[in-house]
């Protein structure tokens, strides 16, 4: 478990204090994939680096699994860092070392292991990330996705309990992003690793995260389970991120609303109800006519969801809404 107690960070740039993170409380449960989303400069990268103290906090306390990280001395901090893996946007692999030597580096730095044990561990890690055939290659000979998998193998080498991901998929194409996210979800499941990842893409959050915190100008503006935050964003910044993901802008939505007649609702289905033939049966029972203005059926991590914007006319509108709610559908009235 990672806890932030009133943690803040201020940079001093040419005599001026620039706040990067305002005093923040945060709790990341063990075993979760926790996503931090924000635009560049929102403070998410600073927050991530405070966890393993690549950035020194200006105030507050960070407690990881009961240990006050902020109070650790040099030796203690180095020991702690070995229990925290980290992967990076630009991979940060050593170009002068082979894939196998890159993965072995954290083990060699930690010391106390015979090289035969290190070799075995490296082979096992490369097996996990499916790169055994590339052990003798240099990073420059690999594709972006392969480099990030080397990064993941390297981060896992010392058997950490926490993995920090700094924009780990931002430099990758969509297909490779999918593979890397899948690998992260897999190690989270199989090794019980807590993963903290930062991104500026809602899609990354939707695909793998359990919890999400949205950051804006050095503070966390919204936080909660991904399904709640994603389907019912409260803060304007969160709403923008969701709209960005849906490739829909506010103007298009307004235009659709202007053209439609009658009452406009947004329905959100979660889980199994996504697949129920609910809409048709409610329409028949209440005599309501509906037309779909926009909609999407997708998944949040493993949970299917659907979100439809409808205009309704005729029949018994109140009864229709009542029936939808009774079936577990979240009903939001966009226009009376």
């Amino acid at each position: 478990m990672i806890e932030f107690h009133q943690v803040s960070k201020t940079y001093r740039v040419s005599g001026q204090d620039i706040p990067a993170l305002l005093p923040t409380d945060l709790r990341i449960e063990a075993g979760q994939i926790f996503g931090l989303i924000g635009h560049s400069g929102a403070g998410k990268s600073t927050l991530l680096r405070l966890i393993n103290r690549l950035e020194e906090p200006s105030g507050g306390r960070i407690v990881v699994n009961g240990v006050d990280v902020t109070a650790l001395d040099g030796t203690g901090l180095r020991g702690f860092r070995r229990q925290v893996g980290m992967i990076f946007q630009h991979f940060n692999l050593l170009s002068s070392k082979t894939v196998a030597d890159n993965v072995a580096l954290p083990l060699r730095l930690a010391g106390g292991q015979p090289s035969s044990a290190i070799d075995r561990r490296v082979a096992e890690l490369l097996e996990r990330v499916d790169l055994s055939a590339h052990a003798r290659k240099y990073p420059a000979q690999l594709s972006g996705g392969q480099k990030q998998r080397v990064g993941i193998a390297r981060a896992l080498a010392t058997g950490p309990k926490i993995l920090l991901c700094d924009e780990a998929t931002s430099a990758l194409d969509p297909q490779t992003t999918g593979q890397v996210l899948q690998l992260l979800a897999e190690i989270n499941r199989e090794l019980g690793l807590t993963i903290v990842l930062i991104t500026h893409e809602m899609d990354v959050i939707r695909r793998v995260c359990d919890q999400v915190a949205v950051m804006e100008a050095g503070r966390v503006v919204e936080q909660g389970a991904v399904a709640d935050v994603f389907l019912h964003p409260q803060h304007p910044t969160t709403q923008r991120f969701v709209l960005e993901y849906e490739q829909l802008d506010q103007n298009e939505l307004q235009e659709a609303l202007a053209r439609a007649s009658g009452r406009v609702l947004r329905l959100t289905f979660r889980g199994e109800s996504t697949y129920q033939p609910l809409l048709g049966s409610v329409a028949r029972a209440t005599g309501v006519d509906y037309s779909i203005l926009s909609g999407r059926i997708d998944r949040i991590k493993d949970m299917p969801y659907g979100q439809l914007t409808l205009s309704l006319a005729g029949g018994d509108l109140e009864a229709a809404m009542e029936r939808l709610r009774a079936a577990g559908v979240h009903v939001e009235v966009l226009r009376q």
Binding site: R78, G79, F80, R81, N92, S96, P106, R108, A110, T158
Partner: protein, 221 residues
């Protein structure tokens, strides 16, 4: 052959070449031994680096700049008392090495500093995140990553030293430069001049060739 190079005593040329190689080897060795740590220190204490230390960086920087701005020929003469102090003589190969090192080490240190700055900061950050000590960061990440740059720096320094050794001939250091001045210039023996210049040229070519090959070998990009 004998009429074309009438004044050339090949045995003398051989001895002079040997002297030049000895001066070059000896001074290059000490230049690297002194300049590499100095370069690493310059890098580490520099702005926004691991051990940022403004006063120390300013001091090192000043000393390096001072030695580099001094024309080598002046340095040769100014250094004579100091050279006698450590080698017992200001003449010959032994007498030439201290001023050569004093002239080349600051230059080499700057090149090393630049090569280290070329290393991606992300590499340092990744190594820090692994729980590495500063010593480990330097020896396991920084120096291996900067290796091609450092080899290139050694090559440039070696070639600079070749021209310095020729100048050292002026104060009685021996070597090809000495031969060129005493016979080629002062006695108008153009053939000696031509032979020494060609030999120096060949030496520079060989050094550059070896350096380039090593840089290519160690570059994995």
């Amino acid at each position: 052959m004998n009429t074309l190079f009438a004044n050339v005593v090949w045995y003398e040329i051989w001895l002079a070449t040997l002297d030049t190689l000895l001066m070059l080897g000896g001074s290059l060795l000490f230049t690297v031994l002194l300049g590499l740590p100095l370069g690493v220190l310059l890098f580490l204490t520099g702005p926004r680096q691991l051990f940022e230390h403004r006063p120390l960086y300013a001091l090192l920087s000043f000393v390096v700049n001072m030695l580099r701005s001094l024309p080598f020929i002046i340095l040769l003469i100014v250094m004579i008392p100091f050279t006698v102090l450590i080698t017992g003589t200001s003449l010959g190969v032994a007498g030439a090495i201290p001023p050569l090192v004093a002239g080349a080490a600051p230059f080499f240190a700057r090149l090393v500093e630049t090569a280290l700055r070329e290393v991606d900061r992300g590499i340092i950050e990744a190594t820090q995140a692994m729980g590495a000590t500063t010593r480990q960061i330097i020896f396991s990440a920084l120096l291996p990553e900067a290796r091609p740059g450092i080899i290139a720096a050694v090559t440039v320094t070696a070639i600079t030293l070749v021209s310095y050794t020729a100048m050292a001939g002026v104060v009685g250091a021996g070597g090809l430069g000495d031969l060129a001045i005493r016979f080629g210039y002062q006695r108008f023996q153009t053939d000696v001049m031509v032979v020494t210049v060609v030999l120096l040229l060949v030496l520079v070519q060989i050094l550059q060739g070896i350096g380039d090959r090593l840089v290519t070998h160690f570059s994995r990009k």
